[in-house]
Symmetry: C2
Subunit: 253 residues, 2 copies
Amino acid sequence: MIEVIIIGGGNVARHLAQAILESDGIQLVQIYNRTLQTIEDFKNKTSITDHIKALKKAGIYIICVSDQAIAGISEQLPQNNSLVVHTAGGVDMEILNKHRNMGVFYPLQSFSKDRKINFNEVPIGIEANTPENEALLQQLADGLQNKYFLIDSNQRKKLHIAAVFVNNFVNHLYYIGQDICKKNNLDPAILNPLIQETAQKTVPMNPLDAQTGPARRGDTITVKNHLKKLTGINKEIYKLLSQSIADTYGKKL
Amino acid sequence: MIEVIIIGGGNVARHLAQAILESDGIQLVQIYNRTLQTIEDFKNKTSITDHIKALKKAGIYIICVSDQAIAGISEQLPQNNSLVVHTAGGVDMEILNKHRNMGVFYPLQSFSKDRKINFNEVPIGIEANTPENEALLQQLADGLQNKYFLIDSNQRKKLHIAAVFVNNFVNHLYYIGQDICKKNNLDPAILNPLIQETAQKTVPMNPLDAQTGPARRGDTITVKNHLKKLTGINKEIYKLLSQSIADTYGKKL
């Protein structure tokens, strides 16, 4: 039985805690958060605390806090044989090097508070400082029924950047598209089938082959017409992304 | 029974032709394309031709050709009482004004050649020069079991721009994200659950509320770290989109 303590009360912490509670073979010993209220809904399911010095013992401590808070938490955790990991995409494993056993357990997903996710569909990037610790994290992923992949800190930072492109930036483009609809008295929901198809197409098709549209065709007239109707930063975004598409396919705009 | 002739052999033409063949109450009288070979696989299902002067008669002629070719086709079509429509997002209905009955039948979707789409899930933007023609196009959409919405040429052009943002640009960001993975020896498929979740989240959640990531948080340190690892146009895209997100949420980067 793997015993786990989760440090943090944010979206990753809560989704991970819930997944552990629903798993077989992994025990959620405790959740720590500096404000108890955030994690109060877990109080009938596990021990909760806001005293970091009063943490129980566990095989793995999973630090799920903001990037900037990881070092401080690591400093306050007891130095013993437990495995201490964080869950951040952009932070070196070495930040935990006060601990003999350290690693990273990076769930590659975007978690929102009010959005239920099937946690076991989230791929987990695993890194550890010894083969034994790596094996323990693989066992943790297996226990949660998650797919995992081994990844070092440098690769993980690059993967985090890739995730910013396909998640944060994509979501912002959804916002811009829907906003254009709203400003022209069109129901933004009419974009939904297009949004879903564009995403689903990436599974069987390479995005390089799936690309369509004026910039891909080198259709300068349409690109210019669109630019005339745009202003401000949306115009700059349109120009830059069209240029990038045209460059990718050797087209001139 | 609505009788339809399709002009064109590209992705929209082929998907629409197939949908008509599978519908009740709409008859595909003929498909025209300047090269017969492209539409040869339809020859046992309907009449095909490459002689535009030898077109049969039909209630609706649907011009599904590139934006630049629409005017030329319209010019060559017989002037009679048939309804002539095009399917383009960015072209005025008035381009067809040689014809007494004209309109637009704009399927809001991105069609790829080797990708099967449930055409009846595609929302159709309808415009026509008379209420009678509008009603006929509504009947056509109903016959195909498609949802439709009424939209004038100006709104349609704006919608086309919105579609470029949520489809063409999004797909290009998928390409960049997957490319970063490949260049760092990571399987690009690990981004898939994140891509799908980001898209699916837009249905119940407003993208404005769903936004996460360093720019949204005003996390200047992470943004700077990411920019250090990027070069060329990807770096410019990262900078501009992060700026746009930060502006949207009143954050400073």
